[in-house]
């Protein structure tokens, strides 16, 4: 076994035994970690899914009780804020389909015509949950929610969230609390967006340095290319007319809309620009896209007197990263980058986006 019988010297035999033991220990440890991770993933996913179904069921109690399918569908549409949800349905007390919702980005999504049995079913990539809707201690229907799950899906979720803006954007932003890269972003607390954590900043600095050195393979080249484009977009020679953020029409309609706020690491304006660009290019952070209201609020905060007497008034969120994300390939992009001063603060005239033309 493992060539132990062929080993002639005792030293060789001991080495082989040691290697085998370490290998086995590593294998067992890796398996245990995998198992723990899978269990955690399962528990989180099942809790999320069950909670979503229960919330929908609670909201749809009256819709089912009074047979109002329209309100039922409205309630289900709330789930579009959760991109991992691909299908959902409400069934009446007889198990007949009452209202349904199918995610727009997956044409293959279907809901069963009859209510499946209550419970949680996990597949390799999909999970479904069926929960009863109870009113006055009686089951008046059931909720069915089908969702993707898994680690890979989390990354995908961030990119799907980077789609074109619209009425659902605030909801999507609110729902995008999951970190884009593991440990890169600090989690939301109480719905308030927070900037990148230490790990995220380290990752970003690494990406900057990589791009500046011109290394890093395809990613580094892509970052360099995007950085060049962003610098060109910020250049007065580019002919991009700055416009108030509030004017959404300033960016081409139907395009992905990313608005990035310079982060302010204290390296000067150019670095801010590059930093923001890299955020977009690398898609490192994915916790949310600020809307005009966010930026306007920051403008107001900037105009308020600062805490330090005599010093320049600084926005309380000056060091907060407003992350951008890379829209799906082929969609084109229009990036609104907000130039700031060396502290990342927006000037008195308020935030001004600069449109980055589509590729």
């Amino acid at each position: 076994m493992f060539g132990l019988s062929r080993a002639r010297t005792l030293q060789r035999k001991l080495t082989l035994i040691l290697l085998a033991t370490i290998g086995l220990a590593l294998f067992l440890a890796a398996s245990a970690l995998l198992l723990v991770d899978a269990r955690k993933e399962y528990r989180n996913a099942s809790q999320d899914l069950t909670t979503q179904a229960d919330v929908i069921g609670l909201a749809s109690e009256a819709a089912l009780a009074f047979g109002d399918a329209k309100v039922g569908e409205q309630n289900l549409r709330v789930l579009q804020a959760q991109p991992q949800v691909i299908a959902a349905a409400l069934y009446d007390s007889q198990g007949r389909l009452f209202a349904h919702f199918l995610s727009g980005d997956d044409g293959s999504a279907k809901v069963p015509a009859q209510a499946p049995g209550a419970g949680l079913h996990f597949g390799l990539t999909l999970a479904t949950v069926v929960r009863p809707v109870i009113s006055n201690h009686e089951t008046i229907g059931s909720v069915y929610v089908q969702s993707r799950h898994g680690r890979g899906e989390r990354g995908g979720r961030v990119h799907r969230l980077a789609g074109a803006g619209g009425a659902g954007q605030p909801v999507r932003r609110a729902a995008a609390g999951t970190p884009a890269a593991a440990g890169a972003d600090r989690p939301d607390r109480g719905g308030q967006r927070r900037g990148p954590g230490r790990a995220g900043k380290r990752q970003l600095r690494g990406a900057c340095a990589q791009a500046q050195r011109g290394r890093g393979g395809p990613d580094g080249r892509r970052i360099q290319r995007d950085a060049r484009r962003a610098r060109a977009a910020f250049s007065p020679a580019a002919g991009n007319e700055p416009c108030p953020v509030g004017q959404r029409s300033a960016l081409p309609a139907g395009r992905a809309r990313l608005q990035c706020r310079p982060v302010g690491l204290g390296h000067g304006r150019r670095h801010h620009v590059l930093f923001a660009t890299l955020q977009v290019a690398a898609g490192i952070f994915g916790a949310g896209i600020p809307g005009p209201a966010d930026l306007a609020a920051e403008g107001d905060a900037r105009r308020r007197p600062g805490r330090r007497a005599g010093g320049p008034a600084r926005a309380p969120v000056a060091r907060r990263a407003f992350p951008g994300r890379v829209p799906p390939a082929g969609e084109g992009r229009s990036v609104a980058l907000v130039p700031g001063d060396r502290h990342g603060a927006v000037g008195r005239e308020g935030p001004r986006p600069i449109a980055w033309p589509a590729r």
Binding site: A59, E61, A62, A63, A65, F66, G67, D68, V71, S135, N136, H137, E138
Partner: protein, 183 residues
């Protein structure tokens, strides 16, 4: 000739069948509507909050009075038999006149005579969920009123009337109301 004779024999049978079907369809539709209204009346109780002290305990029944719609009363009696709403048993009363509308928690007023319906609704005092079978003019209006939309039974809600009667309507109920007055 034989085919013509057969057709002549079958035609009266077919006509008789169609006539009986139409005769049966009419009451079936009425039964359906009264059943839906009865179910709605029963469900309304789950989405209304009466002021504290209305019920002395969980054994106190929710009394639903029905005026002018015996079909609805019958359906409601069947529906509520042996069931409870938040622990309260449900009692159905057939209200014959305005004087019989005391000690009710819910009053449904319907029937062909709108003036009588209005009178009954106007005589009710206190925290009573008043439900009218159709639009009713005058003050105080009913808290809820049934309407028809594309052949379906729906209802409108009046927050003003609910507040006047010290009742709280659940947001869930308002979400499915066709129209909410006083929002």
């Amino acid at each position: 000739v034989s085919l013509r004779r057969t057709l002549l024999l079958l035609l009266p049978l077919l006509a008789a069948g169609l006539a009986s079907a139409s005769v049966q369809a009419q009451p079936l539709g009425l039964v359906r509507e009264s059943a839906v209204k009865a179910a709605f009346l029963y469900k309304f109780c789950s989405f209304v909050e009466w002021p504290a002290g209305t019920f002395r305990g969980p054994e106190d029944p929710i009394v639903i009075g029905v005026y002018g719609e015996d079909a609805v009363a019958s359906e409601l009696e069947q529906l509520a038999r042996g069931r409870t709403i938040d622990g309260h048993p449900v009692t159905v009363l057939r209200v014959r006149d305005a004087n019989g509308a005391a000690l009710l928690h819910v009053l449904f007023a319907g029937g062909p005579r709108e003036s009588r319906m209005r009178e009954v609704l106007a005589r009710v005092r206190g925290p009573v969920l008043t439900v009218a079978d159709g639009p009713v003019d005058g003050e105080p209006g009913p808290v809820l009123q049934f309407t028809q939309e594309e052949g379906r039974v729906r209802f409108q809600a009046s927050l003003t009337a609910a507040a006047a009667r010290n009742l709280k309507l659940s947001a869930k109920l308002l979400a499915v109301a066709q129209q909410v007055e006083g929002r």
